[in-house]
Amino acid sequence: MTRDQLQRVLLPLVVALVLIALWQWWVVAYDIPQFLVPSPLVVAQTLVNDWALLGAALLVTLKVTFLSLICSVLLGVAIAFAFVQSKWIETAFFPYAVLLQVTPIVAIAPLIIIWVRSPTASLVICATLVALFPIIANTTLGLRSVNPGLQSLFRMNRATRWQTLVRLRIPSALPYFFGGLRISSGLALIGAVVAEFVAGTGGTGTGLAYQILQSGYQLNIPRMFAALALITATGVALFALMGALSNWALGSWHESALTQSES
């Protein structure tokens, strides 16, 4: 690990440690009651003690998040390909893709939960609706962002539509796609949590959002914080995972990956 890489990991970690220490000091010094703000130590203890419950809930949330992310990628890429193949399809359907983006998921989640029998499936559908748009928009943009000179070169060599797609359009679109994937991974988690909040009031689901709701009703604030910490950690881990994936795929040639590993 180089000095720069070490710094990139170390500096945020120091910030976190300082903030947690301040929090601990503040709660102890001012004698804040646990049901208002629990100290970091108490949250950590709860995390360990309630791990059976919280760990199972984390798995459920992770499952919904990954399933919806996979659905978003498959659907989003397929839709982007359709848009790029025909201007007609794009003109006809793009407004509806935008509609998907601007409709608040909280508003339509109850409907989906009523319509779809399986709780997991309904949560996955909700989260997919939230995470889908960045993949569609970025991949479409990427498939269109082809160097005009290279496009002429392919034309002059009488490349088939398939050759142009595989050898030119898809590689050109990859950096855009990975940009969309990073945004979507976060949105899939948010979608999974928000949908479960709505579904949880209907009495189904045992994910992290449901644990937060339950802890709220029981005024078990430390457990609420512990669940919240798990969601946050999941979000950070997802973002890092997508970054690593993008670096792995683009590392040898794209500027975004190069500046990260060289700066």
């Binding site: 000179g149 290279l150 009488r158 794209h254």
Partner: protein, 273 residues
């Protein structure tokens, strides 16, 4: 060291490129190029020289078949550029920028035209090494384009255009983005390739010095509307080397072209006034 003199016999062979009153008017009424008549004989090095907006790139794109003329006709080796039979073996295009695929190594970039024509891998690889050797990049076959300097990227681009063994090379300001020292060196390398491979070249530039140095014939063009104003033959037997660049002969040609360009733009201003 001397360029091939244009013999009487060369005049009898069928032309490499024949442009017959080809013009380009865009649907919005802009006249990018007034009708042009131009015949390029096999083995000629013809340069289209003019300011931006004179239609030199338009003309080149029409010869390449990337743009259709709105009137008139163009044929390359006797074929119309629009025909699907238009064969890449006979014509290659070098763009203003290197236009290499950043995700592919140099060898894969150079192999692209062969891959698109489904040439067998072993045959293709042999031809790629030969093309890379021609431009002196054989050591960089496995490098990515970003690892090369601008001049080396342009060499890779030229290798890609030569890998199909074309007889006609179309070049659209290929060295415009390079510094003068690199550009002069690449000009020399291009001339050597032109001679050794018996290429026919149509070269677009806005540099008077480059035009004089490279060409056997310079077609002077003017803007608003884009048109051909004059053709200047550069003495074919003059050796092209550093002594030519500083000779009085070179300066005389440069002066002639400069005056021709100035006259053309003065006429355009009068027409506008």
């Amino acid at each position: 060291m001397t360029t091939e003199p244009l013999t009487a016999a060369a005049n009898d062979t069928p032309p490499a490129v024949s442009i017959d009153a080809a013009e380009k008017t865009y649907p919005n009424g802009t006249r990018a190029l007034l009708p042009v008549n131009l015949t390029v004989r096999p083995g000629e090095f013809v340069t289209l020289l003019g300011p931006s907006g004179c239609g030199k790139s338009t003309l080149l794109n029409m010869v390449a078949g990337l743009l259709a003329p709105s009137a008139g006709a163009i044929s390359v080796w006797g074929e119309s550029p629009n025909a699907r039979a238009y064969s890449a073996q006979r014509l290659s295009f070098v763009f203003q920028e290197a236009t290499l695929m950043p995700w592919a190594r140099v060898a894969a970039n150079v192999r692209l035209p062969l891959d698109l024509q489904d040439v067998q891998r072993a045959t293709a690889d042999d031809r790629v090494s030969a093309a890379l050797k021609l431009v002196g990049l054989e050591k960089f076959a496995e490098s990515y384009p970003r690892e090369l300097s601008g001049g080396m990227q342009m060499r890779a681009s030229i290798a890609r255009s030569l890998v199909t063994d074309p007889s006609l090379l179309l070049m659209d300001e290929p060295f415009g983005a390079l510094d003068e020292i690199t550009r002069n060196r690449l000009d020399d390398e291009l001339l050597a390739l032109w001679r050794s491979k018996g290429l026919t070249v149509i070269f677009v530039t806005h540099s008077i010095h480059e035009a004089v140095y490279l060409s056997s014939r310079v077609v002077v063009m003017a803007a608003r509307p884009g048109r051909v104003v004059e053709e200047v033959f550069i003495a074919p037997n003059t050796p092209r080397d550093e002594s030519f660049r500083v000779s009085t002969e070179f300066a005389a040609y440069a002066k002639k072209l400069q005056e021709s360009l100035l006259r053309a733009s003065a006429n355009a201003n009068e027409a506008l006034a």
